[in-house]
Symmetry: C2
Subunit: 192 residues, 2 copies
DNA sequence: CCGACATGCTTCGCACACGAACGAAATCTT
DNA sequence: AAGATTTCGTTCGTGTGCGAAGCATGTCGG
């Protein structure tokens, strides 16, 4: 019967290979620069956003709260960031880069492997666009499902909020520079 | 050229989102079926390959030896697989599915989220092909670098869409995963 | 003013995932 | 045949990653 799994299996296999490659590259970064991939990503986000809470940071790097807490623990231990309780809202924790953190970040390489970057820039522009569009499309399709457990299907019109969360098809005009992840206004719990 | 930086960041972000979605889906699988993604993948590989050593299994699922050892530990503890020392080569360990493992596997869902699968099948065929080709291309570029610094590269990055598309899609039959590796027992060029 | 609830971060337990190091077994060398 | 080397799997240590639970704090209704 359903032996037509090949397409699915190939997609799964390709994703797994990519994940593994990312992981291996992360370890290489740690060896050569003392920073793993997630640590570097968090550091970059902290630099881009300026002073920000750990929650904001978590949303920016697409990771859960506990995960960034752990990463910030190691970053703090190495003296690259600074965690202080916010004065206004004392629940919140403000994260700042130290000068050490800034210099380390300035000297740090890209999150992508050098060779991959070179090959990428060597491609035709339409190919790069295709790759990016495909990845974003995949990301939108996959984390849309994870994000909401509600049985609500996508009807016709989408309001601004949903649109921001899942811009499935966009023309060649992909996003410019936006650091995205604007607000995410505290979603209401669906089920108790 | 100013836009090249943002392109990189967007690619990284998309990959992270995909990885996170895969992870979240894995946890949902664990909740609903008692099997995480890697466990299910390993179980499927064990079923496809029949009796096989843990090393063969590791290569099949694109994971390291220690990782599959851990996964097999949990699978064994649940009585889904059976580990026995090989009679011929007593270093090797033969992995077999138990009857429990087979029934669990038969009842198990796909590694991909249902909704993602539905959306995928709803796409035009050329779009599916593009997605698969892009993912495989990414995987090839990225794990080529991680694997080694060997000069093995993808042939022509030119007109790849047509070129890459054709050989990639094999018929529904037994995809026989690796186009790579084949027989590795050549030499061991390791560290000095 | 004070409980009831909400929010933000941390702690805890689990499951990957890897390289390094280890012991056992097989293979090669001398 | 004895020793060196390779190969196979496991164990160890580190670093993600998550949800659930725990605290501390803020906010709202009575």
């Amino acid at each position: 019967m359903g032996t037509s799994l090949s397409m699915e299996n190939q997609i799964v296999a390709a994703i797994r290979r990519i994940m593994r490659a990312v992981d291996l590259h992360s370890r290489r970064l740690a060896e050569e620069h003392g920073l793993t991939g997630p640590q570097l990503a968090t550091l970059q986000a902290a630099a881009n956003l300026g002073e920000s809470s750990t929650g904001t940071l978590a949303r920016a790097v697409h990771l859960s709260g506990p995960t960034v807490t752990g990463i910030l623990d190691r970053l703090t231990k190495r003296g690259l960031v600074d965690r202080t309780r916010n004065g206004q809202d004392r629940r919140s924790v403000t994260v700042r880069l130290t000068s050490d953190g800034e210099s380390v970040l300035a000297a740090a390489p890209s999150l992508l492997q050098d060779r991959f970057r070179q090959e990428l820039t060597r491609l035709e522009e339409w190919e790069q666009t295709t790759i990016l569009a495909t990845l974003q499309r995949m990301a939108a399709m996959m984390d849309a499902e994870s994000l909401d457990a509600s049985p609500l299907l996508v009807p016709g019109p989408l309001d601004a909020a949903t649109q921001a969360a899942a811009p499935v098809i966009s023309p060649a005009e992909t996003v410019a520079e936006s650091t995205d992840s604007a607000a995410i206004p505290a979603k209401a719990p669906t089920v108790p």
